[in-house]
Amino acid sequence: MNDRVAVVGVGNTPFKARHIDKTFPRLAYESVKAALGDAGAAKDDIDSVVYSIYNDFFEHCAMPDLHVHYQLGMARKPGVRITCGGATGGYAVRAAITEVASGLHDVVMVVGVEKVADVANVFDMVKSITFAADPFFEAQLGASPAGSYGGAILWHMEHYGTTVEDMARVVVKNKGNAMNNPDAQSPMEVTVQDVLKSPMIVHPLKILDHCLSSEGAATIILANEKAAERFSKDPVWITGLGAANESARQAERDDPGESLFPAVRASALAAYKMAGVTDPPSAIHVGEVYDSFSGVEIILYEEFGLCGWGEGVHFLRDGRADMGGSNPVNPSGGLIGGEHAIGATGVYQVAEVVRQIRGEAGARQVPNVTRGIAQSMGGARGAYSVTFVVEG
């Protein structure tokens, strides 16, 4: 990167299954106002905006960013929307980083928002997600994201002895972590048995193994090194950025080696290289990562190099991903306990790591964090992935 990129402000709304009292521009505005307040900034400090809004169906509008930009008072400034499935937030932050690092703009805001429950029911909501499946062969066969991730988990079970009880432990951890997060949608004391007894959706994923479906918004404000001095808090730096894509067809992958999510692996290695991270277990103090399904998080420990191939399940069983463990993963509750307002998710993850580094994470604070990762992914079986290394 030509210029160092700092996060100078973060803000979000509470996340809920339904904000029936708020439209998506209102949710966006509330998160922007919170982020400006956090930065000690005024809206006139913002030079450009990147909108992180995933699915036109959720906003009931084919160009939702149009209707937010003007209402935020950003008329006659640049604004652009990024949409990349579950990686929407990651790619939106990446787009904003390029605007800052290239010297194009001094201060750029990323606004992530989603209003998922405006779709009348969960079946139409999921159907609108499946509209992203390969339209030539796989959409007609009923391809779904849950099916693609379920297959990866089954492979992991067969080869490494991961069990449905292990998957349930991730749910217990993340919904438990959410109890320390006042903005979380699903703080819950659940047991392994509760998860195992919940209804099966796509083998081996029960309903409680699934990520949430949330409404809410998150905003972060990025600035170059010089501009960062204008704002009230110490800057937190984005020192590593990696992005990678794979085939989004479920039956057409040439996965190299042992990685089940090669795009995730590639994005993590690129981010580590940029940030100079050589030993992830000691260098990465906290992670906010894309636990779209419980078993996925177990695989992600391996993809991020927090442990070796096939060791993810031991990493979990040994409590290393827990609060108080060596590398706490998803202290916010992640996508299973915290929120999954898709466009907002990748932005919120960065905001949460920033709070951890600042020591502002309240009851979910991990001690002595100076470096963390945020990662989001989309498409079938992590076909798109963006990883950030964030440092104080």
Binding site: R18, H19, I20, D21, K22, T23, R26, Y29, K33, L36, K43, F57, H60, Y70, Q71, L72, G73, K115, A117, D118, V119, A120, N121, D124, K127, S128, F131, Q140
Partner: protein
């Protein structure tokens, strides 16, 4: 779709030697009008036209907006006079299917007046 048949029950076609696949994306909504709900309720129940006013700078937003995009503070509901001036209008001669269907019951063509004045000083 050019016709109203359910595409799920329409066989694929071969046209000039190429396969064309029927499909339809249908998604139902209950889209929340959220903080703007009172605008619609006041019209229905009291025949009142409402805008929203910034307590700081006095700007009145119509269409209503629950915050002022200059001052970044919440606005308050105010009743509009119900009078306005049409500055320019155009008549839509060809309408999209959905609009045409909705309008058939009332009139033959849609007339949209506008552009509406978005922000009025009092």
């Amino acid at each position: 779709m050019a016709d109203d048949r359910d595409p799920r029950f329409v066989p694929i076609k071969v046209q000039d030697g190429f396969v064309v696949m029927p499909d339809r994306w249908k998604v139902d909504f209950w889209a929340s009008m959220g903080e703007l709900s009172r605008f619609f309720i006041e019209i229905k129940e009291n025949a009142r036209l409402m805008g929203m006013k910034c307590p700081r700078c006095g700007s009145v937003y119509f269409w209503p907006r629950s915050w002022c995009h200059d001052c970044y503070v919440d606005t308050k509901w105010v009743e509009m006079s119900g009078k306005g001036k049409v500055t320019v209008f155009g008549q839509v001669e060809v309408s999209l299917n959905d609009i045409r269907k909705r309008c058939r019951s009332s009139r033959g063509a849609c007339t949209w007046r506008g552009p509406a004045t978005r922000r009025l000083s009092e």
